[in-house]
């Protein structure tokens, strides 16, 4: 039984390898797979297969989305496409029949000159220009300078003057307020009398014009008087 099995195996091996005698060069070559696959391809392939299988199952389980088209849509689609393409080709034909000239013209040698014009402008623009900073003089002339100084002095003096006028020491202001308060307490008639009495007490000019003239003539010479006036 075992011998028969071995004989069969030998026969099969012989049959499977007899081509090597007919193609010795091919038989001498190492059996090598020259193809390669992307990196990790076989690691990710099972996931890809199961994913595809799952998607395929879903397609069968989920009914069609239910989109519909108008009646005879597909039967008339071909005709509509052909009509549209023929219209487009008609438009193309019409465009082809139009004269190639646009009808516009340019002055003689316009384009020859245009290039040089553009170049001239672009070169000018492109030329490096060192931008100098502009110095603005504050005083255009000496006269203006002195006038400004004078104005400044005047404004300063006026300000100082105003400041002096409006300044009142706190003590003086308090005394003034106190005097005003006292005046309320004094009878008005007493104040009038006091003022009149003061005027009465003031020294009065009693000399007459004749006496003054005599005095001047006696005490001053004519030279003194002329130099004085």
């Amino acid at each position: 039984m075992t011998e028969t099995k071995n004989y069969k195996k030998m026969k099969t091996d012989l049959e499977n390898n007899e081509w090597k005698a007919e193609a010795p060069y091919l038989a001498s070559l190492p059996v090598k797979n020259p193809f390669i696959v992307p990196e990790d391809y076989f690691d990710t392939l099972p996931e890809a297969i199961t994913g595809t299988v799952y998607t395929n199952e879903l397609k069968q389980v989920i009914p069609a989305p239910g989109y519909t088209v108008p009646d005879h849509y597909f039967s008339s689609l071909k005709d509509r496409i052909l009509t549209q393409t023929s219209e487009e080709s008609d438009t193309e034909e019409t465009l082809k029949r139009l004269p190639s000239s646009e009808g516009f013209s340019t002055p003689d040698q316009y384009f020859q000159k245009l290039q040089s014009k553009i170049l001239a402008q672009t070169v000018e623009v492109a030329a490096p220009v060192l931008k100098q900073s502009k110095i603005v003089r504050l005083w255009h002339s000496g006269l203006l300078k002195y006038a400004s100084a004078a104005c400044f002095v005047l404004v300063a003096a006026f300000g100082f003057y105003l400041n002096k006028q409006t300044y009142k020491p706190e003590a003086a202001t308090a005394a003034e307020i106190a005097n005003e308060q006292m005046l309320y307490d004094i009878d008005e008639q007493d104040i009038i009398d006091h003022v009149e009495g003061n005027v009465a007490d003031a020294p009065k000019n009693t000399a007459t014009n004749a006496e003054l003239e005599t005095y001047i003539l006696n005490n001053y010479s004519q030279t003194d008087l002329s130099s004085e006036f």
């Binding site: 059996v31 193809f35 390669i36 696959v37 076989f42 392939l45 099972p46 199961t50 595809t52 299988v53």
Partner: protein, 186 residues
């Protein structure tokens, strides 16, 4: 994750509460084998990536109906093969190109691929493979690269062992000639 026997996967899949676990085990066990099988047929990585996902969707949908009259890996290989051939046929129809030009396209994508790191000999071998008819290329890949026995390939493709042997020998001879032709340089 350790690889588990197909019977255990099928047992777990038959129960509602362990179905997802069984499917994860199945993906883990077969994802690389299926990817390389598909990749060698369609050459481009992105196409192979899409197709592998399609294959496993079909496995998920149909595994409940799987009968134990064939091995699980044979059954998955058959799904992957059918998906790949359908893809190539659609590509051929979409571009309205004859089969040899599809091979040219595949050859171009092989050269342009950033996921190819074989040397000149490996590149020449792949170019030689792309000169073969699809069925011969498929059989050669399964025999040469996957090291499957004729009876296993027969179970997957539903072709007799004798026909497979003939196809494989023709493919091998063509490749040998291509490889020894010094005028073909890359």
């Amino acid at each position: 994750m350790k690889q588990v026997e197909d019977d255990e996967i099928l047992e777990k899949f038959s129960q509602e509460n362990t179905r997802n676990e069984a499917f994860n085990l199945l993906i883990f066990k077969y994802q690389e084998k299926i990817y390389w099988h598909v990749r060698r047929l369609v050459i481009d990585h992105d196409d192979a990536d899409d197709l592998v996902q399609e294959v496993f969707i079909k496995v998920w949908k149909s595994l409940a109906k799987f009968r134990n009259d064939s091995k699980l890996y044979t059954w998955i290989y058959r799904i992957a093969t059918n998906e790949s051939i359908t893809f190539l046929n659609k590509k051929k129809q979409r571009n309205q190109t004859p089969l040899d030009e599809v091979s040219e396209e595949l050859s171009e994508s092989l050269v342009a691929s950033s996921y190819f790191n074989g040397d000149k000999i490996q590149m020449k071998l792949q170019q030689a493979l792309l000169t073969l008819p699809e069925k011969q290329r498929l059989i050669f890949n399964m025999k040469y690269y996957d090291d499957l026995k004729y009876d296993e390939i027969s179970a997957i493709l539903g072709t007799s062992v004798g026909a497979l042997k003939a196809s494989f020998h023709i493919a091998v001879k063509k490749i040998e000639v291509f490889m020894l032709n010094d005028e073909i340089s890359l």
